[in-house]
């Protein structure tokens, strides 16, 4: 295919979309044009043993031990777990509790980075992917410590192991990055399209799928074009551009948009023949697997009105937030530090929170920015139906909200409380300023507790 710039996308390269959803201001302009830059190493890295969904990894190192950049320092504890690799050459200081984005302090390996070390040496050895069986690939993915880098941090090898009766025919690569402000996937597609294609190829082999669709939103056409240029000639991979809409990047919405399939409630994508992987995850697979390496760094968009130097940075896992902020010229005083995107990301309580594998963005909002996004007063629900029109899962947040207020948590099952994935669309549109998502989080907890108590 010649490298001509597509100003108009031919119909077969265009994806559909899902129904409902919202259009928040994108605010990607601050960082979309900023190439990925390597960020300096801090003097100490804080490597949480649990930065993925599942069981925490088990340390393989002891205090005082010297480690080389890329060396495994913790192993997976069973199938629902992944190992951890040293993001820098240095000495293990201790294993201790450190603050996490969610709040409670959790055990982490603390690594003193060797000062003056160039950090160019890297652990690993070349291997031939084509000679590997799907099983070996899946094992290699786990060994690389790969988790969903889009935010959920679900171990990737688990997603590569569907129930035996599910036949996966199509791999979807999620390059939508529908959260406002974030631009890591955008930059990755622009700057590392070869890694992405390599990773996609590996995923297709592992799943035995014969086609892959890389989906991105129409505000990232340059990225789509960059990836198209390096696609394999056999036509097994295509890039589809879908309309920009939040939450287009949610797995279920993407499946609907790209191949018009609905992932069943409570089920896996493989139930409808799909495997869905994030661009950042896939690019890491493409970059790491052929070298037997593990995840030691990731691209993070650090942006927001409270920052002088927003950008896309390649940050070593375990770098404390404080170190990043101090180097980027934050403005002092109270700040809202949001991990992930502004729609699904929560604020963190402490500046000592380290970067984890699942963290693709840090947003810094000043109090005045937050005030501009807050309804000064919460009104009662006026049944306007805007939330119903916004919910991408086609739930009824209005009814759910009313039941939550009345503490009728069990009845909320009838309105499919657990299908809510807390995308935030309903809270975003609610003119009454009702914190619906917050209600639903609490309700899910209460609902589970009530059910457990009834047993």
């Amino acid at each position: 295919m010649t490298a001509q710039l597509a100003t108009r996308i031919p119909a077969d390269l265009r994806g559909g979309t899902f129904s409902h959803g919202v259009h928040p201001a994108e605010n990607k302009q601050y960082t979309a044009g900023k190439p990925i830059q390597r960020f300096a190493f801090p003097s100490e890295l804080f490597l949480l043993l649990s930065q993925h969904a599942g069981k925490p990894s088990v340390p393989l190192v002891h205090p005082g031990q010297e480690v080389v950049r890329g060396e495994p320092i913790a192993r997976a504890d069973g199938f629902m777990s992944v190992p951890l690799h040293a993001p820098a050459t240095g000495t293990i200081k201790r294993i201790d509790l450190v603050p996490t984005a969610k709040g409670p302090r959790k055990p982490a390996i603390i690594l003193a980075v060797h000062p003056g070390e160039s950090q160019e040496m890297l652990y690993g050895a070349r291997r031939d992917i084509d000679a590997m069986t799907p099983k070996e690939i899946i094992q290699a993915v786990q060994d690389a410590g790969l988790v969903g880098l889009g935010g959920a941090a679900f171990p990737t090898h688990v997603k590569l192991s569907p129930p035996p009766d599910h036949k996966v025919d199509t791999i979807l690569i999620n390059g939508c990055e529908c959260e406002p402000y974030l631009t890591t996937d955008h930059r990755l597609m622009l700057e590392q399209p070869e890694d992405l294609v390599m990773g996609t190829k590996i995923l297709m082999r592992a799943m035995g799928a014969d086609r892959a669709i890389i989906g991105t939103e129409d505000n990232k056409r340059d990225a789509a074009e960059a990836v198209r240029r390096v696609l394999p000639k056999d036509g097994s991979m295509t890039v589809k551009v879908v309309p920009t809409k939040y939450p287009q990047g949610a797995e279920k919405m993407l499946a609907k948009a790209l191949v018009n399939r609905e992932i069943p409630s409570g089920g896996y994508p493989s139930a409808v023949g799909l495997g869905v992987y994030n661009v950042a995850t896939t690019a890491q697979i493409g970059a790491l697997l052929p070298w037997q390496r593990g995840v030691i760094e990731r691209v993070v968009t650090v942006t927001g009105p409270g920052l002088d130097k927003p950008g896309n940075y390649l940050v070593a896992i375990g770098t404390p937030l404080r170190f990043i902020l101090e180097r980027l010229g934050f403005q002092g005083g109270p700040q809202y530090l949001i991990t992930g995107g502004p729609m699904m990301g929560d604020t963190v309580a402490s500046l000592d929170v380290p970067i984890t594998k699942g963290c693709g963005g840090f947003l810094i909002f000043r109090p005045e920015d937050v005030a501009a996004q807050t309804v000064p007063k919460t009104y009662p629900c006026i049944s306007c139906g805007k939330c119903v029109e916004a919910c991408p899962m086609h739930l009824n947040p209005c009814q759910l909200g009313k039941l939550a207020v009345k503490r009728r948590y069990l009845e909320m099952d009838e309105y499919h409380l657990f299908d809510c994935f807390e995308c935030g669309c309903c809270s975003y549109v609610c003119p009454s300023g009702i914190p619906l998502v917050q209600y639903f989080r609490v309700s899910k907890g209460m609902n589970r507790e009530l059910k457990a108590a009834a047993k």
Binding site: G333, Q335, A349, I364, Y379, I382, H416, E422, G433
Partner: protein
């Protein structure tokens, strides 16, 4: 580097929200009604103006008072009670005695809104509750109509407007003889249609050079104002469209059966309070269903009921009761029209 250290503040997702809040929506509805008010003042003069002012003031005052008595912060600044006041005024005859209007306003807000717990909890549109009360309590003044565009309407009140509290209004016949010497039947186009099968010209209906309540004599203007709200996404066009389309359809069927007795669909659409009801009353968010399919059912129900009441009921105007009835049914409609959720597994029965 000794910059002030940032402190981390807490907040849950989503961090962004759309800037349209309840008070913004309600305020815009008020803006959209102002041209209608202005036109009715132009048509009916001082009396219409006084009616709008009194209804609005009493409605606002009632809500404020009840909030204060209950020891809560006043909720009048969400603007919704202002809508109630204006709407109620627009449904009353321009010559309606002010003291009666005040009582109806008080009743509408107190019983139709505050009693249920205020904005968001009311089952029915409070303005319609007020009007229904007036219809029952003050039957004669509620059906006493005066001509529009009379000379001197900006310098003097219609005599009945200034009736002393708790007195029945004096007759307007002296005044009528003066302002409309060529005879005024006192009948609205709907009454003419119902009881005498006389249809009124559509152009007259559209421009409101007819008798009627303050707000129902300018169908075209109401429609334009509604379009503003629809364009700003502050009103559900489906409701308005559902009401109008179903009313036109049903009356069209009757018209085809016997054009001698039954009014034409155009007459149905543009006469009486249908337009005001379809645009400003049926669309009351609180009292309408929140689901998309529910809204269609709700709207059509209002249209159909209106036509049936008009053609076969004892009253010549049925919009008000049609809306009140649909209001009462809307929780039920919502319940049976839950959206089909994404990825619903077929064998699992969804409720309803």
């Amino acid at each position: 580097m000794s910059a002030p250290r940032p402190q981390a503040e807490l907040r849950t997702s989503p961090q962004l929200r759309e800037p349209v809040t309840v008070d913004v929506i309600m305020r815009n509805v008020v803006y959209a009604m102002l041209p209608v008010c202005a036109y009715s003042v132009f048509q009916f003069g001082l009396s219409a103006l006084a009616l709008i002012v009194v209804c609005t003031a009493v409605c606002v005052g009632t809500e404020h008072l009840f909030c204060r008595v209950a020891g809560r912060e006043s909720t009048v600044n969400d603007w919704s009670v202002i809508i109630t006041g204006i709407l109620l005024a627009l449904t009353l005859p321009p010559s309606f005695p002010l003291w009666m209007a005040a009582v109806a306003s008080f009743f509408g807000v107190a019983v139709g809104k505050v009693f249920f717990g205020g904005l968001g909890f009311n089952v029915m549109n409070p303005a319609l509750v007020g009007r229904a009360f007036a219809q029952a309590a003050f039957t004669v003044p509620m059906t006493t109509w005066t001509p529009s565009m009379v000379a001197g309407r900006f310098t003097e009140f219609i005599p009945s407007t200034l009736t002393m509290p708790f007195m029945m209004p004096a007759t307007n016949s002296d005044w009528l003889a003066r302002v409309a010497p060529d005879g005024f039947t006192g009948a609205t186009p709907l009454a003419l249609m119902k009881f005498e099968q006389v249809s009124t010209d559509t152009v007259q209906l559209l421009t409101g050079t007819i008798a009627g309540s303050a707000g129902e004599t300018s169908a075209l203007l109401i429609l334009v104002c509604g379009l503003y709200l629809i364009a700003r996404k502050m009103m559900d066009w489906r409701i308005t469209f559902g009401v109008l389309a179903s009313a036109a359809l049903l009356s069209g069927i009757f018209y085809l059966v016997d054009p001698e007795i039954y009014p034409s669909p155009l007459f149905t659409l543009f006469s009486g309070g249908l337009m005001l009801g379809a645009v400003f009353m049926a669309t009351d968010m609180v009292a309408s269903p929140e689901t998309r399919r529910g809204v269609w059912i709700y709207g059509s129900l209002i249209g159909v009921l209106t036509v049936i009441i008009r053609l076969f009921g004892g009253l010549n105007e049925g919009v008000m009761y049609a809306i009140l009835l649909a209001n009462a049914m809307s929780p039920l409609i919502s319940r049976v029209t839950q959206p089909r959720r994404y990825g619903a597994v077929k064998k699992v029965k969804s409720p309803a």
